[in-house]
């Protein structure tokens, strides 16, 4: 009997939620339209009424709904976060995804029946840290940062009773989530403080005769030659010069613009005992969510049916690559031999 892995898909809007559910998501995750979630982008997310409709739509079709309240509550605005937690409990979401220990404590006290998931922003990378959240707040699932190798994921799973969810597809954070202040260093706003990274309002494109430049709050992130495809200037994915090495030509010193894609190792992940695979991308369009959900649904079903006979089909890989940042993918840290 093979384990079942839950497919968790992003819903940045009601239409995205519907297509995710229609294309086979077991669960969707979403957020309120404010700074309480880590995709606080203009035009995204849900108000109370949309959330009510979204939850109903998902539940009627057997899908679960997780609410991301995964930023750190700002001092002086604590009630914005507790109001969101209260609303989540009232609306009947299946779990809240939290990062702030104070908010977890609040939920544990006020809404003991509410299921708690630890957000990737909670930076739990080892069983002892996970044990903290389980002991103190009764956290039932943890989303692992995208920095662990497969061996490390196995080590975590075999040493914690808490369910483990890993990222399967989407933009790749090379830094430990919840522990990266690069965005606020450059722009004043970060995932932890504002639910944003490299915010669009700080982006400026400059065209000159021979090149195109992207800047973030004035800092030059990248320069593109004519005809070269240009990506969003997430600051860790720019080209920079590192001093003190023989080669001082501009390079992706931190990370390439690329997407995470675990299609190639789904059987290993299944055997490792993960409970869920998460798709990144609440900022993406419904069309994107539909395509990624459809491909991952097919791949997961094939893998769960016959793990040893599973091979990722070329058309799945091609379809996901077309959607991937920089049109290329990587297994990221999960494929490393790191111990």
């Amino acid at each position: 009997m093979n384990r079942r892995i839950e497919l968790v898909c992003p819903a940045g809007s009601l239409p995205a939620l519907k297509v995710a559910v229609d294309h086979g998501a077991d669960a969707v995750y979403l957020g309120f339209r404010n700074a309480t979630n880590a995709r606080n982008f203009p035009g995204l997310n849900f108000d109370d009424s949309e959330m009510r409709r979204g939850i109903q739509y998902a539940h009627e079709r057997g899908a679960r709904v997780f609410l991301a309240l995964n930023t750190y509550a700002r001092v002086g605005q604590w009630s914005d976060w507790t109001r969101a937690a209260d609303a989540a409990a009232d609306l009947g979401v299946d779990a809240v995804i939290l990062a702030d220990p104070g908010l977890m404590h609040y939920c544990r006290e006020r809404h003991p029946a509410l299921r708690l998931h630890l957000s990737v922003q909670g930076s739990a990378t080892n069983p002892e840290a996970i044990s903290f959240y389980a002991r103190q707040f009764g956290v039932q699932r943890v989303v692992l940062p995208r920095v662990l190798s497969l061996n490390q994921v196995r080590y975590v799973i075999s040493n914690t009773p808490v369910e483990v969810e890993v990222f399967g597809f989407g933009s790749l954070c090379v830094m430990v989530e919840g522990r990266c202040a690069l965005s606020s260093y450059v722009t004043g706003e970060s995932p932890n403080t504002c639910g944003v990274c490299s915010p669009a309002k700080a982006v400026r494109w400059e065209e000159s005769g021979s090149s195109r430049q992207s800047r973030l709050n004035g800092v030059l992130i990248d320069v593109y030659a004519p005809g070269e495809s240009a990506g969003y200037p997430t600051l860790c994915k720019g080209r920079f010069i590192v001093r003190g090495v023989p080669d001082v030509s501009p390079a992706y010193a931190l990370e390439e613009p690329t997407s995470l894609n675990v299609l190639g190792i789904l059987p290993d992940l299944l055997r490792s005992g993960i409970s869920a695979v998460k798709v990144e991308g609440r900022q993406r369009s419904p069309a994107y969510v539909a395509q990624v959900t459809r491909v991952l649904r097919a791949a997961l079903d094939a893998c769960m049916r016959d793990p040893s006979g599973y091979v990722p089909r070329p058309e799945w890989v091609a379809e996901l690559d077309r959607l991937a940042e920089g049109r290329q993918h990587t297994l990221g840290a999960i494929d490393r031999a790191w111990q």
Partner: protein, 299 residues
């Protein structure tokens, strides 16, 4: 107001570390944080070496705190952390929830800047768990720290990161090895060649960031000496200075004199600019981009 010396972020060789702390033993800092916080592979000093240094510093009247690793992934790292937690003599700074889990309910401990406490409710929770001092996340500025000071539980000291390159991010990837075209598993300890990190510049020459193994630091050196009047007014207990390879005693000295009122903070700021390895920044404290350097503000 006390002065502390944060843990060394870089990979210095054993002799350099020993000599550094021999000088620190007679420098006017009150608290010294010891131990490797960035990369578990760096083992130029073993546990006995660190405890020797701790003993010598304690004998000179310093409060010694043992700091723990920030990014913890392996069982071996957890077992080393447990040794630190169970040292039986010195207070411990927790930089990961794993350390908090080992410490809570048994010891009073310090919460380092990489534990995310952004509000008074979380601060109270950590106080209940046994924290006796906390270092606010680097992103938090005057406005937030002031509000949190008003909410802080009894017996909780506040320590603000006041000088040094800011440890902004941590990764599973080793950026130093990557810059040398080496895999992390065969890094050849290249980070030992960069005692203040590797400079990362933008293509138009801005000294933007510094690479220090798996850590990314600010290109500029944070400096809050000019903010001393505010820091004192809101009753911050400790200012943390982060070690750099050169001139650290001079840095300590200027801060000490500024705290004691023997020198004007503006004069100290000007002098410290000469002692810092890179240009200054104080943006986080003023609620703007961390890299900014504000010179016109209401102290």
């Amino acid at each position: 107001m006390k002065l502390s010396l944060g843990p060394i972020q870089y990979f210095w060789d054993r002799d350099t570390v020993m000599q550094f702390y021999a000088r620190i033993a007679v420098a006017p800092v009150d608290i010294v944080y010891l131990g490797e916080v960035v990369c578990a592979k760096r083992r130029a000093l073993n546990a006995t070496d660190w405890l020797d240094i701790a003993g010598r510093l304690a004998a000179c009247g310093k409060e010694v705190v043992l700091s723990t690793l920030v990014l913890v992934e392996a069982a071996s790292e957890l077992s080393r952390m447990r040794h630190i937690v169970e040292n039986g003599r010195y207070r411990v700074e927790a930089n990961d929830m794993a350390a908090v889990n080992m410490l809570c309910g048994r010891e009073r401990f310090v919460v380092g800047p990489h534990i995310n406490i952004y509000n008074g409710e979380t601060l109270r929770l950590f106080s209940d768990l046994g924290a006796c001092r906390w270092v606010p996340p680097l992103e938090l500025g005057r406005e937030a720290v002031t509000e949190l000071q008003a909410m802080r539980p009894k017996g909780m000291e506040t320590e603000v990161f006041a000088f040094g390159r800011l440890p902004l991010a941590f990764s599973a990837r080793c950026f130093t090895a990557r810059a040398h075209g080496l895999p992390k598993d065969d890094c050849q300890f290249r980070c030992a060649d960069y005692p203040d990190g590797m400079e990362l510049e933008t293509r138009d020459g801005l000294q933007f960031l510094a690479l220090n193994g798996i850590q990314v630091q600010s290109g500029s050196t944070a400096n809050l000496v000019r903010e001393l009047p505010t820091l004192r007014a809101i009753e911050v207990d400790v200012l943390r200075l982060s070690p750099q390879s050169r001139g650290m005693e001079t840095v300590i000295d200027w801060f000490r004199r500024a705290i004691d009122g023997r020198v004007d903070p503006d004069e100290a700021a000007r002098a410290l600019e000469a002692s810092a390895s890179t240009g200054p920044c104080n943006g986080y404290w003023h609620g703007v981009a961390g890299m900014d350097w504000l010179t016109e503000f209401d102290p």
